[in-house]
């Protein structure tokens, strides 16, 4: 069985090579549909596209450095009711795949009849920043890849990306390998599972052992570098946000629109507690709330919303930053939730999305544990 393959890239057009590969998957009936990022009409954005015709892959650009929506939400919306009857491949970033694994464990998505293709990720820009770059260059993707391979970092990338500790896919059937390689010359495709190997076998592709070794070494270096950056950043964040005054200040511009919750791939509750009748309060109840303090900001219960959300989904936070991208007032929710999530995940030695076999911390327990939390 083929463990890996090289996709030849000519004239430095990595996206053309990838399109050809994806088209092969359709043409050879490995899958009958693809979810792959596509340049949208007008060119200002690259959004996931559901493709059923091989001829319609002309705009596919999975390497474009932008992530408008965490694709886990899209896959969940598609597969929650029932899995697809046609075999499908989905092309995702590592954080999207990790979020999807969490959603599958939460029974909000299915991977049945789906081949996952994870792409090594150097990071993404905010949508506005991406649109800017797309407008001022013939290929924003190309420039981004060149910058990434130089290895000097890119200050324009979203902060959560710069400190992402999991920039390579953990559980995908296939991985589009880019780290440590020159995407202008060749792209590595790694098969991580029997399903992935089968796909490569069907396409008759092979080669790439040397490139794989090169990538592996580069990935180790990248992970070590990111871990250090994340640690530093989180400690700095801790100082900036810790304490009642700082917390109140950070959320003073929150208008409780709940966009962060809507954008979050993990928040899946059909009726969020904060949209339930509990919060349809009578006027007098508000007045009694105001009595307690003399005056209350309206709308109220802002901190309650955020801290509750941290409690409810923090263990599964993959640090994708969709929350912060969605905030109309640029509140640094991503770094706050990432910090809270990191502490929770450390407590349970849990890495969200690492494996379908890892039990969700809130759905299991040990008879002997956490003795420091409850006194006997």
């Amino acid at each position: 069985m083929a463990k890996r393959a090289i996709l030849e890239v000519s004239e430095g057009q990595a996206e053309v090579a990838l399109r050809a590969f994806l088209k092969q998957l359709l043409d050879n009936n490995v899958v009958e549909a693809l979810l792959v990022p596509q340049v949208v009409e007008g060119g200002k954005n690259v959004a996931q596209g559901l493709v059923t015709a091989g001829d319609s892959l002309d705009r596919a650009d999975p390497l474009a450095p932008v992530m408008p929506v965490n694709s886990a939400r899209i896959v969940s919306a598609m597969t929650k009711k029932s899995p697809p009857s046609r075999k499908m491949a989905i092309v995702l970033r590592p954080c999207e795949l990790r979020a999807l694994v969490e959603l599958v464990k939460l029974k909000q998505a299915s991977l049945e009849n789906i081949v996952t293709i994870g792409v090594d990720c150097f990071g993404t820009y905010s949508m506005n920043k991406y649109a800017e770059k797309a407008a001022s260059s013939s290929s924003a993707t190309q420039e981004f890849l060149n910058k990434a391979s130089e290895g000097n970092g890119d200050a324009d990338l979203r902060m959560v990306c710069q400190i992402c500790e999991y920039p390579v896919p953990l559980t995908s059937d296939l991985t589009i390998g880019l780290v440590g390689l020159d995407a202008n010359k060749g792209i590595l495709v790694e098969a991580n599972t029997p399903a992935g190997e089968e796909a490569l076998e069907k396409l008759g592709l092979g080669g790439g052992d040397e490139l794989a070794q090169k990538r592996e070494a580069a990935v180790s270096r990248l992970l070590a570098d990111r871990r250090k950056k994340a640690e530093e950043f989180l400690e700095q964040t801790r100082k900036e946000v810790s304490g009642l005054d700082k917390l109140v200040s950070i959320f003073s511009t929150c208008i409780t629109c709940h966009n962060c919750r809507t954008a979050c791939p993990i928040c899946y509750c059909k009726e969020c507690f904060f949209d339930s009748p509990t919060f349809e309060m009578e006027a007098d109840k508000y007045l009694r709330q105001a009595d307690k303090r003399g005056a209350i900001k309206m709308p109220t219960d802002t901190l309650l919303f955020h801290i509750t959300r941290m409690n409810h989904m923090g263990v599964s936070c993959v640090g994708c930053g969709s929350c912060e991208e969605a905030c109309p007032n640029d509140i640094p929710v991503a770094k706050l939730f990432r910090l809270v999530g990191a502490d929770l995940q450390k407590l349970f030695e849990y890495v969200p999305g690492r494996s379908l076999d890892d039990e969700l911390p809130l759905t299991t327990f040990r008879e002997e544990e956490l003795t420091q939390v409850v006194e006997d």
């Binding site: 009642l244 307690k292 303090r293 809270v340 327990f365 939390v373 409850v374």
Partner: protein, 141 residues
Amino acid sequence: MAEEYEPKIVGFMCQWCTGTAADMAGTARMQYPPNIRPIRVMCSGTVDPVYVLRAYLDGADGILIGGCHPGDCHYVSGNYKARRKIAILKSVLNTLGLEDDRVMARWISAGEGKKYADTVTEFTKEIKEKGPNPIGEVRSI
């Protein structure tokens, strides 16, 4: 207007164990501070962090959660789940720099009326020494 600070403690106690212990303390006329506002829940496992946070952000000075001892939960494993939820709650509060020691959980079984009284006495004293919850003054809550 120097009103002496009397802490407001909210208690979530499970019906089967801690709640019964509280009743026992009452029938035995055990003395303990009246600052606690007891709320009966069926099981400590049903205490969602949002209830605790509601009390906390409303200005409660202390929140006590009581349940059955591990292995004795009336619903088998509710208290184990409660322990994890409380661990998460305390971790979140800690990360945010909020006083997580205003939230206390203890296993108190149905026959431990004295333990209940002692716990409430001890906790009330601790919270009194800590001072009022500063969140109680914040308007933008």
